[in-house]
Structure formats: C-alpha cells, structure tokens
Symmetry: C2
C-alpha cells in the first residue's frame, strides 16, 4: 500500500531510495471496517491519514444533533483533522470509514520531522496545503454563490464516481440540503 | 514597508542579505484608498497581497445581490483570491480596502519563482498555507457547531481590535447573521 503513497509523492519530485525508506518508515498501515470511527470529538487527532483504499468522511455534529459532512476522502487523498493534529488540541470532528478502508497513517512527530528534514517532503506538503486552501475557498464561494442545483452539478462533475459509493443522505449533508430536497433535485435533473 | 514583510518571514528562518534583496525585488508596494477595489469577479487575480498597513476584506455577492464577507485582513496578514491566483482563472470574489491601506503585492510568476528556487520561502509558504487550511477548518466547524453568540464571542476573542475598525454590518455578514441580529446580540451580552 505504501507504493500508492510514494507514487503520489513522486508526481512532484523524484525520491532517492534512502528517502523512500525514510518515508515508508514514517507511516503505519491501518485497516478499518465500514462505519469504524477514526476520530471522535474531544480526542486529540493522533494521525493524518493517506487513503490507499476506501472512502472516509469527516463530519461535525451540531448542537441539535444533526450531522454535517465537511469532507469526503477517497483513494490517493488525505483525511484528518489538521487543526487538532497540528495544534495537538481536542478535535471537534468525527472521522468515519464509509467503506472498508486501508490507510497509511503518520503521526505528528513524524510529519513534522519529515517536513523539517526533507525538503522534498516539505515541497509536497506545501502543495498539499496550498490545494487544501484553494479547495476550501472554492467550496465556500460555491456554497454562497451557487444555487442548490448548481452545487449538486458541480459536485458530480468533481467526483463523478462518488455518487455510487456514498449514501445520498451524506452527499445532501455535504451540499447543505436535506436528503428529500436532493432526491427531488435529482429527479428534476434526470427529467430535463 | 518591505521590512514588515521581511520581519514576518524571518520569524521562521533567518535570511541572508542576498535572499532579502531577491524577496524585496519580487514585491511591489501599492496604496489603496478606503473603498478601493483590489479585485473584482470575472478578473484573474494578478497579485497576492501582504498587508503592511490597513484593513481589507474579501467578499462574495450571492445571486440575490447580498454580500457575504469571507475574510478580513489586517497588518501582517495576507489577502487575495488564492484559487484565482494559482489557477490563473477568473475570480468570483470582490477584494476591497475597508481602510486606506498599503500592501506589498507579488504576482504569480514571482511567487512561484520564489517558492521553487528559495527553500526558505517555500518553508514560509508551507506554513502560510498550513495555517490557512487550519483557519478555514476552524471557521467551518464553528459556523456549524456554535451558536450565534458563541461565534461572535470567538470572533472578538480572536480579533480584539477589529470591532473598532470594521463596520458592524461587515462583521455580521462574516458571522452569517444580519446586522440587526448582531446588534441585539451585543446588547444582550453587554447586559449580562
């Protein structure tokens, strides 16, 4: 599974065999069953997860007990609570496997050590965080400026295969609408 | 003004005189009057701005014509539309000076050149984007999980002097409430 991660890292810079060994030694492979929780509110996030296989969601539960999905992660993407991880403070998120998943987990000490000692890993991290800021910005502006239908069409364009893997109620929650509203929206779009 | 920026960069790593000269040459000082627009929707974001003096906001206008403030920037912080800047695509944001402001502006070519040729600048950018992702995550989780009163109290704790510098209507819009609701909330808090 670690080769999936290394090939992702090598998209940006070639790695020497020694660097590959150091990176491999910094990650632990873990497997989770469907519905397993990787993180709970009140716990400090111990790991950032590179998803080698599967599908994982991060969500917040509001004061009324409603779930709000804030991110989905699939193969070759990362998931975690970066705020809790880097501040080493209690998380406010749930992170849960939507499918049986295999991840490569890296802890705080190893992540910082790699960033501070291996310029190529810092380069990779810079790009990762840069894309993260850009994705957050796009999501925020779309949530404010687009109609519900436009948000849904943008979602299925960005994640064409996710609809088959994620329950509709989770997609609805990610898009800020009820499952009933999304169901009506999909019918309307199909009839067009 | 460029010394403000250099002292910010030097918090993370000391710079040689040569590196300082290269960084200085990569930025242009610009001044804006109150209410000047630095970026409009439909335009490609040419610059990222380091704010040396003043206060600047980024906002989205929704389809009903309502403004939604997405970020405020003050001295020693950055503002811009990173998505439009790095993708070199049309922006969806307005960026506007709330006060007369002096900024140090860097264009896409210079930003990328510094990141790709000066490891200390890449290190600085990595931290900048990392904090950006963390701040966005905190804001999203607070907008979902906190009450209006908690969001307001968190805002004034984080930005203790911003209330005096920014019209209440802009703070209300940032916090996702009407100006009238924020006014009632402030009265309620004062009376406690």
């Amino acid at each position: 599974m670690v080769y999936t991660l290394l090939s992702q890292l090598e998209k940006d810079a070639s790695l020497t065999d020694e660097e590959k060994e150091i990176i491999k030694a910094s990650f632990r492979e873990m497997t989770f069953a469907k519905k397993d929780l990787l993180l709970l509110p009140g716990k400090v996030s111990k790991y950032e997860y590179f998803i080698a296989k599967g599908c994982i969601r991060a969500y917040i539960v509001d004061q009324k007990g409603h779930e709000h999905n804030i991110r989905f992660g699939i193969e070759n993407s990362w998931i975690g609570d970066l705020y809790s991880f880097f501040k080493q403070t209690e998380s406010t998120c749930h992170i849960q496997a939507i499918e049986a998943s295999t991840v490569l987990a890296i802890d705080y000490e190893n992540f910082n050590h790699l960033m501070n000692t291996m310029p190529k890993f810092e380069h990779f991290s810079r790009l990762l965080f840069q894309y993260g800021v850009m994705a957050n910005q796009l999501r925020l502006s779309q949530s404010l400026a687009l109609t519900a239908e436009e948000r849904y069409l943008s979602f299925i364009e960005k994640y064409p295969h996710l609809q088959q893997r994620i329950p509709q109620k989770h997609i609805a929650s990610y898009l800020g609408m009820t499952a009933e509203f999304l169901s009506l929206l999909r019918k309307k779009i199909t009839q067009k």
